[in-house]
């Protein structure tokens, strides 16, 4: 029987993660053997052919991203797993690392072979203390078993893998900021080009990939490209973790075929809205995505389809806004987050976000003016793509601009009569 849930097949509620031996007995650590029968470039080709898109939010083809790395020159090369999960409303990498740490480690070893990486780092957000403990244990087990270190499994391939725990800063999710942080520097983003594939950590070729992305690699190599392609619905490839938070009956995250609709996720997996609450809108993939409306629920969770509807799939963990929660207050909360997490490097972000937060505070306190709404609309442009050094401010503008599009009447109501919502 072929596996249909490769990311969560070892995960059971209330059970500790599998040890190295248990994980291996369950079919784990086979992908490296398969990979080592091929050249690194051929492994890269397989990942590209599988159609695996990055699961961190941008959705770029992983194999293609890998293929931009130059040929090895004998010097150090790095793989860095971005485990700095801080996008508001996102909690999928926490599940993968807490519940099946060996899947990530196997993925990192096989990916490192494909990339000819000599050292791999996990960049973990500091608040994920349980993931830290479990990853450290799993890394130790993998070293003891000879899956890490010098001459892995008696071959010429060697790899060291280390865990770096950060100390809480959203901008570290931006790959060049992450690289600066890993070098011990203040985590401002770097100018691109050069891209990290060519000049990343300490100026050496570096690939930065999301946790879930790397967790897909063992399955692709173990079971093959065709198997992976058949996991998705229609023309889509693979599975991904999607989830729901907010006032639904059964919040959580689950592995499902790529191409599943928002409605299936919300109604079948999450059990629909809590009694007494109606769905007003939802953020499809984290705090930095544009709101969508109930009329968009039948869209498949595919980056292209979501983009056509005017938003981004992002991390594919949706947050529902119910009819009893103030949409202006919701946007204010998101903007407060982004204003706090701005690295301060460029003006639209550093100065624009606190200004927007100030205006939204006024709206909530009942002292907003009609001209403030115009300023908010202008700010969406100033903070938009092309005006900033990285994607933080354009991301922050997304819930703002879409709330102005869909809930203008609510903003005007706030100016005229203040906030009518009882809570918050």
């Amino acid at each position: 029987m072929s596996v249909t849930n490769p990311l969560t097949k070892n995960i059971e509620d209330g059970r500790d993660p599998l040890s190295f031996k248990e994980y291996q007995a369950a079919g784990g650590y086979q992908s490296l053997d398969k990979a080592m029968k091929m050249s690194p470039r051929d492994v890269m080709g397989q990942v590209k052919d599988a159609g695996l898109g990055g699961r961190g939010g941008a959705g770029f083809n992983t194999g293609l991203k890998w293929s931009f790395s130059p040929e090895p020159d004998g010097g150090p090369r790095y793989l860095v797993v971005n485990a700095d999960e801080m996008e508001p409303g996102t909690f999928k990498d926490r599940l993968l690392m807490e519940k099946d740490p060996h899947l990530l480690i196997e993925g990192m070893i096989t990916s490192s072979y494909a990339l000819s990486a000599t050292t791999a780092y996990i960049f973990l957000r500091g608040e994920y203390t349980l993931a830290e403990e479990r990853l450290l244990k799993a890394i130790d087990e993998a070293y003891t078993a000879g899956m890490l270190g010098q001459n892995i499994q008696g071959t010429d391939f060697s790899l060291d893998l280390y865990l770096h725990t950060s100390a809480g800063r959203y901008i570290c999710g931006e790959e060049t900021a992450l690289i600066n942080a890993l070098e011990g520097k203040r985590a401002n983003p770097r100018f691109k080009p050069p891209f990290p594939q060519v000049s990343g950590l300490w100026g050496r070729p570096t690939l930065v990939n999301n946790v879930e992305t790397i967790c897909n690699i063992p399955g692709i190599l173990t079971h093959g490209v065709e198997w992976f392609k058949n996991l998705g619905l229609g023309d889509e490839c693979g599975t991904r973790i999607s989830g729901v938070s907010g006032r639904v009956k059964n919040p959580g995250c689950w592995e499902m075929p790529v191409g599943t609709t928002f409605r299936t996720l919300l109604e079948d997996y999450a059990g629909g809205m809590q009694d007494g609450y109606e769905l007003k809108a939802f953020l499809p993939g984290g705090g930095s995505t544009d709101f969508l409306l109930p009329e968009h629920l039948d869209l498949p969770m595919i980056p292209g389809d979501v983009a056509k509807a005017g938003s981004r799939l992002g991390t594919s963990l949706i947050m529902v806004l119910d009819d009893k929660t103030c949409p202006v207050g919701c946007v204010r909360n998101l903007i407060k987050f982004f204003a706090h997490e701005s690295c301060g490097w460029c003006t639209p972000c550093r100065d624009g976000l606190p200004w927007v937060e100030h205006i939204l505070n006024k709206m909530e306190e009942g002292t907003g003016e009609m001209k403030d709404i115009e300023i908010l609309q202008e700010m969406c442009g100033y903070m938009g793509p092309g005006n900033t050094f990285c994607a933080l401010a354009p991301g922050a503008a997304e819930p703002l601009q879409s709330s102005l599009k869909y809930f203008m009447d609510e903003y005007e109501e706030h100016v005229k009569h203040g906030c009518k919502y009882k809570s918050h």
Binding site: P76, E85, M86, E87, P88, G89, T90, F91, D93, R94, Y121, R125, G126, E127, Y128, T129, L130, Y162, H164, T165, S166, A167, G168, R169, Y170, A181, L182, E183, G184, K185, R186, A187, W202, G243, V244, S245, G246, R247, P251, G252, C253, G287, L317, M319, L321, D322, T325, G329, C330, N333, L334, F337, H340, E341, C343, S423, H424
Partner: protein
Amino acid sequence: MTDLIASTALKARQLTEEEIHDIEHEKTHYPYAQAVGLEALKIVQKYQGWVSDESLLAVSEYLDIPPDELEGVATFFNMIFRQPVGKNVILLCDSVACWMLGCDDLQAHITKTLGINYGETTDDDMFTLIPVPCLGDCDRAPSMMVGRELYRNLTTEKIDQIIAEYKSKA
């Protein structure tokens, strides 16, 4: 700039044996000692509770990182405390899912119970209350951490129990 720092800060203190041991362990993970700056600050904080000027200067000297650069790192990260904090740091998530599910009410409850607002420490140095950006626990919101422990699906009653537990441990 060096003069300014020397005139406002005290001298570097001596790092303890444990601190040096832990920092040396982290150094084996990186090709350059400077990369360990943040880890060293976290190690110092683990043992001392916070990062004083004397600690910052000690790490700066030990790893040969200019103090202003290290201060740039220390002040950048949410979880490095450059002021003294209480024995137990309460990190209350105030991001969107927790906000929708009532974290403001929880904050008001903690403030009433312990008499501390965000950024403040109780008189007996037992608790400090700090807001934390999205803890990535949105399906169990509202959530908070006390030190390294995560608490989820919070209510005011649960918070009373948690606070009582920490008080009884003291």
